[in-house]
């Protein structure tokens, strides 16, 4: 018992550090460790993982709030889509064959690896030109953020609100189904579809993760997917790890950390896919 608690605490610290540095919810690391590494039933792993997402998001949100780059209106408006999606996802987990959960998870990791690679290759931020958008204006979604690198306020507009809203629903389903923060999908909705600059996109998505995860976590909490002996030491580890991670991030360039993590994430992704397909080596 003490043994499990100590391992979970260590897993949490590791996931917290990695999550803070890589900007991923931690869920993507936790479920593979718990299932592949420790042989836990994937449903309990997902339950533990969704708690991890809340811990990571709540921890890092504080830092982002001080940075003052997030867009609270965009977050709140799109949370309508993510929370509904999260409930749908959490309910689906209960009825779906675990095999598919492994497959989906594997695909997700491979996608994230690719996504991180793409980010590596992308240069510095360029403000995209956006057509004035009626829906965005009506919902007061356009915003301003202070860019630390350029030392000035940057005004931006968003567009394509319906498309962003739909992708957010999908991100919510993925989050509820797999117990992840699905930050990559959220950033994609904001940045690729709605043309929001990257900095406000990532902090807004971070803020949304916690609320989205809370929707599915309540479902998991009451249907018994959360085991306190696992979730509690892990959540505590994550809270500690997130603090350490944010310190490390200030010293280490994120670029190198990404280069190290991409092959690891791809490897775990294929491992999960093989497990879903029932292939053994």
């Amino acid at each position: 018992m003490i043994h499990t608690a100590i391992i979970m605490l260590a897993v949490g610290i590791f996931a917290g550090i990695a999550g803070a540095i890589l900007g991923i919810g931690g869920g993507m690391i936790i479920t593979p460790i718990l299932t592949l590494g420790m042989g836990l039933n994937i449903k309990y792993a997902i339950g533990a993982s969704i708690i991890a997402v809340i811990a990571t998001s709540s921890g890092s949100t504080i830092a982002y709030l001080r940075d003052n780059v997030l867009n609270l209106r965009v977050a709140m408006f799109l949370e309508i889509a993510t929370t509904i999606g999260a409930i749908v996802g959490a309910l689906l987990t209960g009825v779906l064959d675990p095999k598919y959960l492994y497959l989906l998870f594997g695909c997700l990791l491979v996608f994230s690896g690719w996504n991180m690679y793409r980010k590596l290759r992308r240069g510095s931020e360029v403000l995209q030109r956006v057509e004035p958008d009626k829906i965005a204006a009506k919902l007061k979604l356009n915003g301003t953020y202070f860019d630390k690198a350029e030392m000035k306020d940057i005004d931006y507009q968003v567009e394509n609100v319906p498309a962003g809203f739909s992708v957010m629903f999908g991100a919510g389903v993925a989050s509820g189904l797999l117990g992840i923060g699905s930050g990559a999908f959220k950033v994609m909705a904001l940045d690729t579809f709605m043309k929001m600059p990257l900095k406000p996109s990532s902090s807004t998505s971070n803020l949304m993760m916690g609320v989205t995860a809370a929707a599915s976590a309540t479902v998991y909490f009451f249907n018994g997917a959360i085991l306190p002996g696992i979730a509690v030491p892990m959540a505590l580890g994550i809270l500690g790890g997130a603090v350490i991670g944010s310190r490390i991030m200030q010293v280490l360039p994120a670029r190198w950390i990404r280069i190290v993590f991409i092959p690891i994430i791809l490897y775990i992704g294929f491992e999960m896919l093989f497990k879903g397909l029932g292939v053994h080596f």
Partner: protein, 125 residues
Amino acid sequence: MAPKPATTAREMAQVETIIGRILQVGVIFSAIVMLIGLALFLVTGYSGYEGDFVPRQMGMILAGTWQLKPYAIMMLGVYCLILTPVLRVVVSIYAFYKEKDHLYVAITTLVLIILLIALAIGVKG
């Protein structure tokens, strides 16, 4: 439409700082509760319940916490952690109300209602 263009950045920044504080307090509080539960569990080596049983009804968790059962306290801590983002939504409703942004009071209230529906589904399911 509001007479001034939406709200000023400073006003929003203030709101966000308050929300950040509340999150911080919520996270620290739930961490302390979880820590007490975990410490008790490790020291006594007993979950407070038979076998692998985990309390998940609110009444049982509160009763168990009162009797200092480790698993009940741990679950209470987890529940508080889940509630922190919900608390953020509640505070945001108030913040938008203070700004007289009725559209966003409605939008944020809708998010809260969805979260309450999640709670209802969880309790029933």
